[in-house]
């Protein structure tokens, strides 16, 4: 039945693929890692690091090739993967845009049109202030007697949602200003144009060491190894636990053999030392492996958070 469905879907799309390649002996050829953004970006570097470690550590024998399908905030790569429904030889990196692009556009595909394989890690969100500024604790920020300027990357992004949730939790009103890219946010805080920023650790970590910045709270459920002295929002009485996920998904309707193979491959990858040292630590990503149905459920919850926020902001109806 499943095979029939996939054949119909493929036929409707005018792409006569799928079907026959779905025997038990998976894989029958190399595996293609699909990056929805150009070379050098977050998706691309994660997939290349994965490919290198999988091959160096001989996790699987199948050759792996990373291809870039940039465009349309990952819409182009989603269309590409959708064109290979039923074929397990494609693995695509996903992060928030996998949820937000379908919500804000009419591409007609959602995360449910794919086979989520696993979450590989999370980028927790930090509340960061300039070390020489007037705010030295979350309590200082809550007690501020004016509207504070908060910076983050883009609108309706994880940074923005954390800022909104913080405002709701503390009863303060914050003036959120979207920037294009981490670099601009960091610069604006460095020169005191902002009162605080919400950011993932990557762009800020060196500034902590140099003494320029100070982190006041982190959005994980418990403190993390990289910042043992940094209290969570929850510890300080504000229930904010939101992080950006980094994961991988496969095409729809792939065989059970392919799904098991891909899940097993990324699970063994996530347990390797090389992955921890060469990818996670270098990019300040926190481990957070979550596979199969757990990952699907996580995506569904994340989808609801984004949908509610985007609706509140008036971006979607």
């Amino acid at each position: 039945m499943q095979k029939t469905t996939s054949l119909i879907t493929a036929g409707l799309l005018g792409l006569a693929l799928a079907g026959p390649a779905m025997a038990q002996d998976f894989p029958t050829r190399g595996i293609e890692f699909v990056a929805g953004y150009g070379p050098g970006g977050g998706h691309d570097t994660m997939l290349r690091a994965m490919a290198k470690i999988i091959q160096d550590e001989r996790i699987v024998d199948a050759p792996i090739n990373v291809v870039n399908k940039p465009g349309g905030s990952s819409a182009v790569s989603m269309g590409y993967l959708n064109g290979h429904s039923g074929d397990g030889h494609y693995l695509m990196s996903i992060t928030s845009s996998h949820i937000t692009t379908p919500l804000t556009t009419n591409i007609g595909l959602t995360f449910e049109d794919f086979t989520p394989i696993a979450r590989l890690g999370i980028d927790p969100q930090l509340l960061v202030v300039n070390a020489r500024g007037p705010f030295q604790s979350l309590a200082d920020i809550v007690a501020a007697d004016r509207v504070l300027n908060v910076g983050g990357t883009g609108t309706a992004t994880i940074e923005h949602i954390v800022a909104i949730q913080l405002g709701e939790a503390t009863g303060n009103s914050f003036n959120y200003i979207p920037f294009q890219g981490d670099g601009e946010v960091v610069t604006a805080l460095l020169s005191n144009q902002l009162d605080f920023i919400i950011t993932n650790p990557g762009p800020a970590v060196d500034f902590f060491e140099a003494g320029h910045f100070k982190a006041l709270a982190i959005s994980t459920e418990a403190r993390i190894d990289a910042f043992p002295d940094l209290p969570t929002f929850q510890e300080q009485g504000y229930d904010i636990t939101l992080s950006l996920y980094r994961g991988v998904t496969a095409a729809a309707d792939i065989s059970d053999a392919a799904r098991t193979y891909l899940t097993d491959m990324v699970e063994r990858l996530s347990q390797s030392d090389a992955w921890r040292t060469d990818y996670l630590e270098r990019n300040s990503v926190v481990p957070g492996f979550l596979a199969g149905d757990d990952f699907s459920a996580y995506l569904a919850r994340t989808n609801e958070v984004y949908r509610a926020t985007l609706t509140d902001l008036g971006v979607i109806d």
């Binding site: 150009g38 609108t155 920037f179």
Partner: protein
């Protein structure tokens, strides 16, 4: 000062191995080739070399990447001059003045002058990078959204100077340019505008527009008018291609001014290099005693922007190596590369991994020298190559443009964009609408818009943010000056012309 020289000589000690010298030389050549192909710019060149670089020791890998980066800046001018097809936004001005020279049979001179000003610009930028990088970075961070907005506005105000005879036509094309630039997602509001197909969610790639407007538009126009380039007889005598003393003297002032402008503005993120070339052009045109020659192959209009273009490469590296903040598309990919090499870009990069950074800078200095020499030596090759394919030039240019458009994101969508703008470019040229204001608006308008909204948000609705900050106020006064001088200047010219009747 002495410390920096000591660090730099340490850097040279790290770089000067036979393998590294070969890598830098080859990287420069690859960069020149990549930059010469329309559509492939610094970002694509660096990205293509990434897998290769990671197989190398850190210093060699970084030399490969920066060599390619520098090389693309030399390469960008070649297709601009030879076939009027800029590979990237900073090369547009080069086409504006270089291609007319080519049509007059002085293409060799254009390539020679632009190679020299590129070299001087790059060298100036590097000297500033070596001695003043930390100081410049510490000031640059105090520029915020209000200053960036006004800088973009200053760039846009050069439309008045690029306008040619008819200011109304220029403003009209600029308005259409603004409209074209609004396609795609708006990161400030989160809304997506005019995304009729998914490829438009991120907007129209302006490089595809440039390829169509200039490359394809020119081909269509030339086919109709049967334009033949004056290429003369084949000649490999290098002496014929080396610019004479008079030409060099004419280019000297603009080169120096362009170098300073490129270094200062190249430091700023976003459209630094593009704004720098347009401002350098506007400046030379304003200073020129014979502004009527601009647009018909004026050497100062070629030398100034070319110098600023190359000076912006080291300029863009300043925020990257001192703060870990990328100042351009190319350096954004370099940032990813530094992380993959296990370095931590940020304020401590120079302290923790100073030896590697200084070796990289030494590699850049060598790359600039190699590129200068090879680009001078290659001029006869380029000119004669063009002579060889002259009979089929239209076909070759169309092929290059289509491949270039395809390679922007490896799909056919951008080919259609280039074709559509090819027809538009042809119609604009036929009906005497200037393309400069159009493309300037496409590149700068979205940046101006976003910085403007950010400024107002930072000021929490208060407009005084534009006049309370000293640098912002200075920029505001400069914009007003450009407008008044531009418009009054045109009136004066018109009066003078009409008086005899």
């Amino acid at each position: 000062m002495v410390d920096m020289l000591a660090d730099l000589s340490g850097g040279f000690a790290g770089v000067l191995t036979p393998e590294n010298l070969i890598i830098i030389f080859v990287a420069g050549m690859i960069g020149t080739l990549v930059g010469a192909l329309p559509g492939l710019g610094p970002s694509a060149g660096i990205a293509l070399m990434l897998p290769l670089a990671f197989g190398m020791p850190t210093v060699s890998g970084l030399c490969l990447l920066t060599g390619v980066y520098m090389g693309t800046m030399y390469g960008g001018r070649i297709t601009s001059i030879l076939i009027n097809t800029p590979g990237d936004a900073p090369a547009i001005i080069t086409a504006l003045e270089g291609y007319p020279l080519m049509k007059q049979g002085r293409g060799g001179l254009a390539l020679g002058i632009s190679a020299i000003s590129s070299f001087v610009g790059g060298l100036f930028g590097l000297v500033v990078l070596v001695f003043f990088a930390p100081m410049i970075a510490s000031y640059a961070i105090f520029l915020g959204a209000p200053e960036y907005f006004l800088l973009m506005l200053l760039g846009l105000s050069t439309i008045v100077l690029l306008a040619g005879a008819d200011l109304l036509k220029a403003l009209l094309t600029a308005c259409v340019g603004v409209l074209v630039s609004t396609f795609g997602s708006d990161y400030i509001s989160g809304h997506i505008r005019f995304a009729f197909v998914p490829e438009l969610i991120e907007g129209i790639d302006f490089v595809a527009i440039i390829i169509g407007l200039y490359g394809l538009g020119e081909v269509l126009y030339n086919l109709e008018h049967r334009v033949v380039l004056k290429l003369g007889k084949p000649s490999f005598n290098l002496r014929e291609y080396i610019p004479g003393g008079r030409d060099l003297r004419e280019a000297a002032g603009p080169t120096v001014r362009g170098s300073v402008l490129g270094t200062v503005i190249g430091v700023l993120p976003g459209a630094g290099a593009t704004v720098a070339t347009f401002l350098a052009y506007a400046l030379e045109r304003r200073l020129s005693t014979r502004p009527e020659r601009f647009g018909h192959g004026a050497l100062p209009g070629l030398a100034g922007p070319e110098a600023s273009n190359n000076a912006s490469v080291p300029g863009a590296l300043i925020p990257l190596i001192t703060l870990g903040i990328p100042g351009s598309g190319g350096t954004a990919i370099m940032l990813g590369a530094l992380i993959m090499f296990g370095l931590q870009p940020g304020p401590l990069l120079m302290i923790k991994s100073g030896d590697i950074v200084w070796a990289m800078i030494a590699g850049l200095i060598l790359a600039n020298l190699f590129l200068f020499l090879s680009n001078i030596l290659l001029i006869p090759v380029f000119i004669n190559l063009l002579r060889l394919i002259q009979g089929h030039l239209a076909g070759v240019v169309v092929a290059l443009c289509l491949v270039g458009a395809f390679s922007l994101s490896y799909n056919t969508f951008n080919i259609w964009v280039a074709l559509v703008f090819g027809v538009i470019g042809y119609l604009m040229k036929k009906n005497d609408y200037p393309t400069g204001p159009f493309i300037l608006a496409v590149v700068l308008a979205p940046l101006a818009e976003n910085y403007f909204r950010q400024s107002i948000m930072l000021g929490q609705g208060d407009w005084s943010i534009f006049i309370e900050r000293p640098i912002a106020l200075t920029l505001l006064i400069m914009i007003l000056a450009v407008f008044t001088i531009g418009i009054i200047g045109k009136q004066v010219v018109r009066r003078r012309q009409t008086r005899p009747h």
